[in-house]
């Protein structure tokens, strides 16, 4: 018996399917949103800036997207960085401390970013030089980092860890023309990172180290330095996100700032097509993954579903996205579909 229609065959170029699934997920989320509330996609201009759910999603996704970009680099080397949330806390505390010390705010910003780089250097030292498994090595800072943040708060008494800074708040919550500044900062960092890995050979080396460290060494790649660089990049990106988040609340709150951001970032990378087996870095995918996660959160909140449902619904949707990506599930679904036709 011939089937009436040929089975659906997706023979897109190799790069496409990777981005296809997160895009499909995003489209599905938006489709549900559109049904529930017809005004979901409305974008207005309020007080000289863009306003609406879509803008809000990108705005809120930006810090996680920035962290996920760094995470994508580390995961590309077959590593993982669990300490990014702790780095955010340390960076926030450092920023607050330097401002309380009366540093010019630009200098305070530079010192805060340097603190993130220092955290990355520490992680890299453990992983690349001392050869500790990445999950354990970065767990050390993950556990201790928030404590370090609290200790930094103590330097200036810690009684009132809030601050005012037009410069930093401008970066975080301000807008340039119609567009929120942090989105522009995020895009700027993305482009800069893309140029760093794709306009130089760094990306190739990172991926080579992730795919086969022994072969990379034999091909003359300094695997140790390359791995180290990955953690430094991740530390810097987490620091940038930390500045945005800290300036948003203009206070240093090491206990809860950026909580679970390491998990969101890892999830974003995986939704964006990255594999924890290493060997490939997809920056655009990581950004898209962060947007998917935030779209989901925002949608649940605007749908009128009790917020208590948030985490479980989120987990369910993420599971579906990952199943869509799994070659095995797709093969099984295809078998089922063709089996039913016969």
């Amino acid at each position: 018996m011939k089937s009436f229609s040929p089975p659906l065959k997706i023979s897109t170029p190799r790069a496409a399917p990777r981005l296809l699934w997160p895009l499909v997920a995003l489209a599905l989320i938006f489709a549900v949103d559109g049904i529930i509330s017809p005004h979901f996609f409305a974008i207005r201009i309020v007080e000289g800036r863009l306003f609406g759910n879509l803008v809000d999603i990108v705005y809120r996704a930006t810090p996680i997207a920035i962290v996920a970009l760094g995470m994508a680099i580390v995961i590309g080397t077959k590593g993982i960085d669990l300490s990014v949330g702790a780095i955010i806390a340390i960076v926030g505390a450092t920023l607050d401390w330097r401002i309380h010390m009366g540093d010019p705010h630009l200098l305070a910003l530079a010192i805060a970013l340097a603190a993130g780089v220092a955290c990355g250097l520490w992680n890299g030292l453990l992983v690349a030089v001392l050869d500790i498994q990445p999950i354990i090595a970065t767990l050390i800072l993950m556990v201790s980092g928030r404590g370090v943040g609290l200790m930094i708060n103590l330097i200036y008494g810690g009684s009132d860890p809030s601050f005012e800074s037009p410069l930093l708040q401008g970066l975080s919550t301000g807008h340039i023309g119609l567009i929120p500044t942090r989105i522009l900062v995020g895009i700027g960092l993305w482009i800069a990172l893309w140029a760093l890995v794709r306009r130089t050979a760094l990306g190739l080396f990172l991926e080579a180290v992730g795919a086969n460290p022994k072969a990379a060494e034999l091909a003359g790649v300094e695997a140790r330095a390359i791995k180290w660089a990955a953690y430094v990049i991740s530390g810097f990106m987490a620091a940038a996100a930390g500045v945005i988040l800290t300036a948003d609340t203009h206070t240093s709150d090491p206990v809860s700032i950026g909580l679970y951001s390491e998990l969101d970032a890892i999830l974003a990378v995986v939704i964006g097509g990255g594999s924890l087996n290493g060997g490939r870095i997809y920056l655009l995918g990581a950004v898209l993954g962060a947007v998917v996660i935030q779209a989901l959160t925002t949608s649940i909140l605007t749908s009128g579903l009790p917020p208590e449902y948030n985490l479980v619904v989120k987990a369910g949707v993420v599971l579906v996205v990952l199943l869509l990506q799994s070659a095995r599930t797709r093969a099984a679904v295809a078998r089922l579909a063709t089996g039913r036709k016969r």
């Binding site: 050979a201 992730g210 795919a211 022994k214 072969a215 034999l218 003359g220």
Partner: protein, 495 residues
Amino acid sequence: MTARIEIVAAAKTYPGVRALDDVDFHVAAGEVHALLGENGAGKSTLIKIMTGAATADAGELRLDGRPMRFASPADARAAGVGAVYQEVNLVPTLTVTENLALGRLPRRFGLVDWRAARVQARLRLRKLGVEIDVERPLGVYSIAIQQLVAIARALDEDTSVLVLDEPTASLDAAETARLLDIVRELKGQGLAIVFISHFLDQVYAIADRLTVLRNGRRVGVGTPQEIPPAKLVPLMLGRELEAVERARAAGQTHTGEPILVAQGLGKTRVMAPFDLTLHPGEAVGLSGLLGAGRTESAKLIFGALRADSGSLKIAGEKINPSPRASLARGIAFCPEDRKAEGIFAELSIRENIAIALQSKRGWLKALSRAEQDRLASEMIEALGIATPDAEKPVGQLSGGNQQKAVLARALVSDPRVLILDEPTRGIDVGAHAEIVALIRRLAGQGLAVLVASSELEELIAVSDRVAVLRDRAFVGELSGADINQQTIMRTIAAP
């Protein structure tokens, strides 16, 4: 002589490979029977059939004359066939008792009787003359002890056939002697023992009979007296002695400034110190049996293994060999084990080819995409890599094409010295000839080429000189008319 275990006319085909072809193999009780052959000769397949890890496509397996069919290693064990593999497949984090009891835990009232297990473990080890604390994790003991524990595990009350696959590979001389004593002891108890080792001296010290395999066929069987080393080596390497020799221009010797000089380069327990000189335009072969130290010497020169003695000079400059330093000075290396050390499976052919040249230039001077595309398509063309395009991940190519991609990587790094370890392994016959021709052409263009190979014909075809290795030492160097099968094999086998 009645055979304890007997394989008759066994055949086994894997996709694309005829692993065994009409092979007979008998081992009598109280006999140590050595199984010999180079990589890919069919030894592993034969063992797998004996131990139930694989089933033959054709032929018969008999135990004490009864036809048997092993569906799994457990079947084989139950029938009395025990095996110890090259890599000790025990669990180093478990205790010795647990390792010995795994899969056959003594039980009492439905619970594991650990006391009985400990007693059994001590008993089994005492039979082999081993007295150790069985409560400590296996990993704290030396490899030699672990090897003996593995043997103890393979020996049940009713074990009548014992297969030992390279049991001495990681043992030193004293440990080896002890292990061989134990093998003799077991033989005296009437076990049928299959002994596999690439150390010929051990084989001749212990074997009652030898079976030689080559390319899946049995090419020889007899006592050590009937097959002395001088006869064994040609059988293993398998060349008709009147094979075609390369027409060699007389007096083709290379003099003048050498490009590479190794003096007393060596590494303890890995490779005895050796000297080697390479001139531009010269191809030098490294010959020897499996385990003779071909790969090790190639890696010492490239710096992939750190030498602990001797020195290396490139173009007169003394260097501290490391892959980076070597590449920077124009030495390229093409490893034998392409899966573990060669390919980046997830990366494209283009990236796999470009990476050595790229790392030589440093990360800041990225090769443009156009440049990478050009290099990749040139190499795909030149080496005949079968692929629709250069963007295909290398992991999706066939073995031979992966090998070509690794070779291409070495070639585009613009080397002055090219070190190739088994450059034609897993490559089809046509490509084989192309690569041999390519090596000659590269030497003709002034490159110094060092080829480590198990294939004599290949070495004879490409080499201006051949260094011969035996048991991890250089034992001779041949040049000119001496580069022929007889002389090389005689040098390999010479006592």
